[in-house]
Amino acid sequence: MSTQENENIMIKLQRVVISFVLVALILLTFLPRTLSLPKHWSSDEDLWMQRTHTFFFALKNGKFKETLPAYHPGMPTMWLGSLALWSTYLTKFPVKSDVEDTNFYTPAMLALVRLPIAVVTGALILLIGFCVYRLFGKVSAMLSIALLSVEPFLLSESRRAHTDALTALFLFLSLLLWLCALESNLSRRRYIVFSGISFALACLTKSYACTLILFIPLVWVWYAKENNLCVSRMMWSVLLWLMMILATAVGVCPYMWTRVEMLVLCTFGGALLLWSLRTLAKTDTPKLTHTAFEVLVGIFFVVVGYTITASAPVVTTILEKMFQAVAESHDLPKLFLGNILHNPGGLYFPTVTVVWSGVLTLPLIGVSVWNAAAQRKQKNNKVFCLTIVLVLFVLFYLIGLSIAAKKISRYLVIFLPAVSVLTALGATHLAQHFTRKWVRYALLVSVFLLQAVPVLRLHPYYRTYYHPLLSGKWVAENTTCITGAGLDLAAEYLNAKPDAENIQVRTTWFSKDFGNYFVGDMLQRHQQTHETSHDFDYDIEYLRDKQVGGKIPRDAPENYKIHGFLRPGRNLPRELEHVVTLNGIDYVWIYRILDFPPENASETPHENVPP
């Protein structure tokens, strides 16, 4: 064979390999997200189903003012959920307009609402991979996609009818697109356009994403200084970005369609958008006359003013809630390092990040930072700039979340995509130290397997993951567990009993989602009365009840009263029948209620709990 033919074969082989890897990555991205969706009903999902329902019917009936049932505001979540509800109209059994309809809150409907979110988050991971490819090359991009796909908490949040995964991915994508634009010397408008859209969607999903507006100007200034970017071009790019945010917000938020300011916003915002697009299309430095500049500034402020007045009723509530989150802790106390606290303090998120991280995550981030630092004084220090931006992004949100009083562990999902990319960069850099190609690939594959296997084996209960070097006992005794895990398995256990339809079960507030899977009757403890408590067959308790139920938080005020749903119910004679264990942690306890107390009654939970 000639050299030419050899080369052709090699190219073809390379293409086949790349195609195979791409297909594998796509499968890896979508399959863990989209399979077994009815499982593991977690907290707030019924709320988001209800909000989606309200949103869908408000849209359907043209009542756009009612399309804002939540302050989060969760627009993309509700749009995607509505898409799923709309699809039921193509079947024989369309969803009913009554939001209280109990047939709506079923695992099948939950899976339906979850599916578009899972698909979109998968697609966003691929887009992030594309940006990483533009910034760091194909190996880093592929590994980033792989690690992002199996990032346990991002993966589990992608499977929920909620807002956190979408927010995190839209936000990170927006940042990466900006970095792509800056790396191309602002010559490609599409990056800025899509970054604006992505950022708007992040903010419309969960308001705290808007804090990026405090971070991103630092990136602009730093890049403009480091890369000697044209200031005028930078200003036009920022204007284009802002107008894209506005256009997306106006387009995606049906509430805005009802505002009288819409016409002005569309006209002037559209004018600025076109103006900036047109100016950035030219390759030379944009120049303006004094009057044109004056008009530009004037129109910009008019658009800002009208945006404020149009969105004021909504934005005011959102800002109030954001300030509330900064100042006031969450109602539910947390278990943190053995203590029960409302505000677990500044170490909470760093600790949870470590507990949730993969085996190699932290060491590889260390490698990537070290590699960036080594490149600092090089002439072309692109990797240094990009890595530092990513590290600062993680720190910005980690510190921000630690400062806020309201601490819920899933909030840190917002910077997990950046953590995954940094991990991938560290691994890629480590691999570059080996000269043999197969060793490099073997190392990368090993990294991936070490990160992925402990996660994927937990399917579909990815949220039960914790660092493989920690013990389940330590995790259960020191960190607040997640909600809802294993309740479906507990329900399956009782559903398998003969005459399951007639079984009466008492649950706690934390195990209330058990009812979504159970075929029999269910009553929550805090709802029970003497009249309703005598004929229970089973008592369900969840790990969280054991962790925080009926206990007074250490930082509680003097006149603190335990929430009704956290108080223990009336003690009934009972016997442990079954325990649901996931990833080495006992999550759900099923007790059989006895007619008489057992002779050696050892378990009388919460005996010393105040009433």
Partner: protein, 506 residues
């Protein structure tokens, strides 16, 4: 002729604006309870010019804190009320006479806008500003009484502009006669609506500081610190006399009302509390059709402040922003509170229009198209403004005026008759019925809200020497004196009360 064209157009604008304001100026119905109170106090001032009273002869207990029902009325400063009283003196007590000073002063304010504009920019810019102000829908509504606080705000606008004209001339010339003009203008503005008047001092201060802040050239400012002190001194003399007099004569009411002014900054007064961005909504209402062009001109013009170091522009921004900033932070926000920024922003707008419609040599075809489009838009907005101004004056609100009831009462009731007027809580249009009846008749009127409250009130009236009568839209088990279909009101006599002078004769 061509040289005098702007002045000729100005005369035409002033005449047409004034004529338009006269259209249905005397419509019978008061637009707001505020206007009704102002007119009533002005009417009472005819009897005692130095004692402003709302209910001239109260027959039942009243609280000094209740500005809608007390006796001595210091809720608004005296000057607009004196102007109303003077007009009543010449033209008789009527709604037309009360509003006439507003029509005159608002038209003269347009003239002042032109004069200030000429001093700061050009005759064309000044003409555009005065045109926009002359046909301002918001100002028309104030003159016609549909927007509170009617005569008070118009008076403040005029005297502020007078004082501002003095300051601007003073900055340019440094002559003492303009110190007098500014001081007197500020004093009279203070007597119109108290502390917002100090924007004149604020602008003078800005003129002093702007060269140091690199916002104007030093040679453009002939104002000195002693001028500023003199302005304040003259203001003190003009306004202080009345303030001192009221503080001594009516100390309780003076203290209450004076505190009330400052409470606007920190408390939600009369449910007018609003977030900071409400200022944008109110500014939109004030400028109406021209809001967006004015906003573009004002926001965009900021870019010229440091570049051009134009004293006039700096003063206009100091004027406009100086009015808006305290309003942003005040808890209570009323729509007309920032009216006095209008001339400043219209002048910036006028200058902007002049610059943007001028042809330039380097103009591309696109620029020419934009310019034409802009001019067409301006013409459209101008026509819209004129139409809306006309629309405001065409309302001619003369329904439910209580005229019939008042005429009957005046003819048939004894001099010590006291009208107890039921207020329909659901309909704000009825809220000022008692005040309106007092304006139309020589009798005292008191309001009551709950259905049977008139019984207790009538006992109190009788005890104080009055003869109570009930005016209501409800049906009461009382002898009917008069029923007006037009007013939808019935006048009832109370049992064991003399029905009227004629009845007594029988």
């Amino acid at each position: 002729m061509r040289k005098r064209l702007p002045e000729l157009i100005l005369v035409f604008v002033l005449l047409s604006s004034f004529s338009l304001k006269l259209n249905h100026l005397g419509h019978y119905r008061f637009g707001t309870i505020d206007e009704c109170c102002h007119a009533l106090v002005a009417k009472n001032l005819l009897k005692h010019p130095f004692k402003p009273t709302l209910i001239d002869e109260p027959y039942i207990f009243y609280g000094e804190t209740e500005w809608g029902s007390n006796h001595v009325w210091l809720h608004k400063p005296i000057l607009p009320l004196w102007q109303g009283a003077l007009s009543f003196f010449f033209f008789g007590v009527s709604t037309f006479a009360f509003r006439l000073p507003s029509a005159l002063l608002s038209t003269l304010a347009v003239l002042l806008t032109y004069l200030i504009g000429v001093q700061l920019f050009s005759r064309h810019a000044a003409l555009i500003a005065s045109f926009a102000q002359a046909f301002s829908y918001f100002i028309m509504n104030l003159v016609q009484g549909y927007q509170f606080s009617d005569a008070v705000d118009i008076s403040l606008l005029f005297y502020c502009e007078l004082g501002m004209y003095g300051v601007i001339r003073l900055v340019k010339t440094g002559k003492w006669r303009f110190v007098w003009l500014s001081g007197i203008g500020q004093g009279l503005a203070f007597l119109s609506k108290t502390y917002p008047a100090f924007i004149i001092t604020g602008v003078a201060l800005a003129a002093l500081l702007s060269p140091r802040l690199l916002l104007a050239k030093k040679e453009d400012c002939r104002l000195h610190w002693f001028h500023l002190l003199a302005i304040l001194g003259i203001t003190g003399v003009v306004a202080g006399a009345w303030m001192l007099y009221t503080a001594i004569q009516f100390p309780i009411e003076f203290k209450i009302e004076h505190d009330y002014i400052f409470r606007h900054l920190t408390e939600n007064i009369e449910f007018w509390g609003a977030p900071w961005h409400r200022v944008l909504n109110y500014t939109d209402r004030i400028f109406d059709c021209f809001f967006i062009p004015v906003a573009v001109a004002v926001c965009g013009g900021v870019t010229r402040l440091f570049r051009e170091k134009h004293m006039g522009r700096t003063l206009l921004y100091a004027w406009g922003i100086g009015v808006m900033v305290p309003f942003l932070f005040a808890t209570t926000k009323t729509p007309s509170a920032t009216l006095i920024k209008v001339p400043a922003f219209y002048m910036i707008f006028g200058d902007f229009v002049v610059r943007t419609v001028q042809r330039k040599v380097k103009d591309t075809r696109m620029h020419r198209w934009f310019r034409k489009g802009w001019m067409v838009t301006l013409c459209f907005f101008s026509l819209m403004t004129i139409y809306m101004a006309y629309d405001s004056t065409a309302i001619n609100s003369d329904t439910k005026t209580l005229l019939e009831t008042a005429t009957f009462a005046e003819k048939h009731l004894p001099p010590n008759a006291v009208l107890l007027v039921e207020i329909n809580g659901k309909n704000p249009a009825y809220h000022c019925d008692a005040h309106y009846l007092m304006f139309l008749t020589p009798f005292t009127a008191h309001t009551y809200h709950s259905e049977h409250a008139y019984k207790a009130m009538s006992r109190q009236v009788k005890k104080n020497g009055g003869i109570p009568y009930v005016v209501t839209e409800s049906e009461l088990p009382l002898p009917i004196l008069f029923k007006s279909e037009k007013d939808k009101r019935t006048l009832y006599a109370l049992p064991d009360m003399p029905i009227g002078p004629d009845e007594n004769k029988k």
